[in-house]
C-alpha cells in the first residue's frame, strides 16, 4: 500500500515537472497569437475585474502600510530637497526666459504643439496588478484594446516615461516598465544632446544605465534625460521624442572603455504607480506596428 502511494506520488511529480517544462518551452517558441498566449490572455481577462476590485478595496490598507515606510524616507529626503529648491530657483529664472524664446521659435518653425504627446490620444489607466519579482518589471492596467490601447503604445505617468504596452486583452493590458530587462529606450541627454540607449539593471529599479555615450562627450550629474524618438525612415523608436525619463545620477569613464557608464535615476516612481496614461493613436512611426 505504502509503495503504491510512493509510486503514485513520484508519477504525479514527474508529470507536473514535465508539464511545467513543456509549457515553458512551448510558450517561448510560439508566436503572440499562439494557443498558450491566447489561453493566458483569457485567464487574465477573467481575473482583471477581480484584480481591479481587490486593488480598489485594499488601497487604504496599502497606503497605511506604505505611509509608515515613506515617513522614514521623507526625513532623509527633506534636507536634500531644501538644497535642490535653491538650485531650481536659479534654473527657473533661466528657464522662463528660454521658454518665451522657445515659443517664438516654435511659431516661426510651425511646430507649435501642446506637448511631447501632441497628436496622441491619452487614455488614463489604473494599475490593477503588478509582478512581485524583480525579474518581471511589469504592471497590469485596467483598460485594454476596448479603449483603443495597442501593443507598443508608450505609457507615461505625471513624472515621466513609465514603459510601453507589450500585451493587451479586451479589458486589460500589460505594461513592460523601463526597469524590465526586456526594455531599452533610445534616450538623449539635455541640453548638450549626446544620445544613447537607456537600459535597466535587473534588481535595482531606481537606476538605469545609459549606454553607448561616447567617452569624449561631457555628461554631468543632474542633467535631464529624455526619449530621443529617432527615426531613419524605415524603422523608428517606439517612443515619441522629448518624454522625460530621469536625470543623470552618476557618470564614470573607464580607461579601457570606449563608452561612458552613465547612471540615470528615473523620474517616475516605478514601484508606486497607481495611475498612468497610455498614449494611443498618434502619428504613424515606421517599423512600429499599428
Amino acid at each position: 500500500m505504502y509503495r503504491k502511494q510512493v509510486r503514485r506520488r513520484r508519477a504525479v511529480l514527474v508529470v507536473l515537472i514535465v508539464a511545467a517544462l513543456v509549457l515553458l518551452s512551448t510558450q517561448f517558441s510560439e508566436s503572440q497569437g499562439g494557443p498558450l498566449h491566447s489561453m493566458q490572455r483569457a485567464v487574465a481577462s477573467v481575473f482583471a475585474p477581480l484584480e481591479e476590485g481587490a486593488t480598489r478595496a485594499l488601497k487604504p490598507a496599502r497606503d497605511l502600510i506604505n505611509w509608515v515606510d515613506e515617513t522614514f524616507q521623507a526625513r532623509g529626503q527633506n534636507s536634500d530637497l531644501h538644497s535642490q529648491v535653491q538650485q531650481l530657483r536659479t534654473q527657473l529664472a533661466t528657464a522662463q526666459g528660454a521658454e518665451g524664446e522657445n515659443q517664438q521659435l516654435r511659431k516661426l518653425l510651425g511646430l507649435d504643439r501642446q506637448g511631447t504627446l501632441a497628436g496622441y490620444k491619452p487614455v488614463t489607466a489604473r494599475v490593477i496588478g503588478r509582478s512581485p519579482t524583480v525579474w518581471y518589471s511589469t504592471v497590469t492596467i485596467d483598460p485594454g484594446s476596448g479603449s483603443g490601447i495597442q501593443i507598443d503604445d508608450p505609457v507615461v505617468s505625471g513624472d515621466g516615461l513609465v514603459g510601453r504596452i507589450t500585451d493587451v486583452t479586451h479589458g486589460s493590458a500589460e505594461v513592460t516598465l523601463i526597469t524590465d530587462d526586456r526594455s531599452s529606450v533610445s534616450a538623449r541627454v539635455l541640453p548638450s544632446g549626446p544620445e544613447g540607449i537607456a537600459e535597466p539593471e535587473v534588481g535595482n529599479p531606481s537606476d538605469l544605465l545609459l549606454d553607448f555615450i561616447d567617452k569624449n562627450q561631457t555628461v554631468h550629474q543632474g542633467q535631464m534625460v529624455v526619449t530621443a524618438g529617432w527615426s531613419n525612415g524605415a524603422i523608428s523608436s517606439a517612443f515619441p521624442p522629448g518624454i522625460p525619463i530621469g536625470e543623470v545620477s552618476d557618470a564614470t569613464v573607464g580607461e579601457q572603455q570606449i563608452y561612458q557608464r552613465v547612471h540615470v535615476q528615473p523620474f517616475a516612481d516605478i514601484r508606486g504607480l497607481d495611475f498612468v496614461q497610455v498614449a494611443t493613436g498618434g502619428p504613424p512611426r515606421p517599423g512600429v506596428p499599428r
Binding site: 506520488r9 507536473l16 508539464a19 481587490a54 490598507a61 506604505n66 503588478r130 512581485p132
Partner: protein, 201 residues
Amino acid sequence: MIITRRIAVRIALVIVATVLLEVSFFSYLSFFGTTPDIVPLVVVALGLLGGALVGAVCGFAIGLLLDSVLLQTLGVSALVLLSVGFLAGRYREGTEISNSLIPPLLAGALTFCAAAGFAAIQLMLGVHTPVSLLVLREIFVKGLLAVVLAVPIYPVIRIVLRSAIVDDSAGRRRARSPITPGARRAGRVRGRRMRRPAGVS
C-alpha cells in the same frame, strides 16, 4: 489530509485569494526595498498541512495561475512552486512538527530557495541587461519577510483546512470521545447525576 470535494473547493479558494492578494496588495508594499511574496509561503503551508502530493499540485496550480494573471512566461513559477510544495510536504511526512516555530522558519527557508530558483531559471532563460548585486539582497530579504508573514498566515490556512487535517480531527476525537464504547453515554448520565440538586432523588 483527507481531500473531499468541499476541501478541494476550499483549497481552490485559498489559491485564488492568494494570487489576488499578491498582485493587488502585497506587490505594492515595499520593506527594505523588497516586495513581500506570500505565494511561496502559502504553498509551504499547504504542503505542511497536506503532504508532498497536495503541496506539489497546489504549487503547480498557483504558479500557473500567477503566470497567467501577470502574463509572464508560463511554467516558470509553476516549476519553482511545485518543488517548494513538494519539499514542504516531504518534510512533514518525514518529521513531526513539534515546535510552532518550525512552519515560519521552513516558510522562510523555502521562500529563499524559491526566489533563488526563480532567479536561476531567469538567468538560464537569458537576461539581456546587467544584473545588480541587489538581487541577492532581494532574495535574502524575501526569505526574512516570509518568516514574519508566515506567523499569521500559516494558522489562518490551518483553520481554513482544519476539517481535512488528519492529526487535528484525530486529536479532537481523542479529546472528546471515551476509550470504550458506551462510556460516552455513561459519562453523560454521570454528569446529570452530579448536577442534580441535593435532596432530589
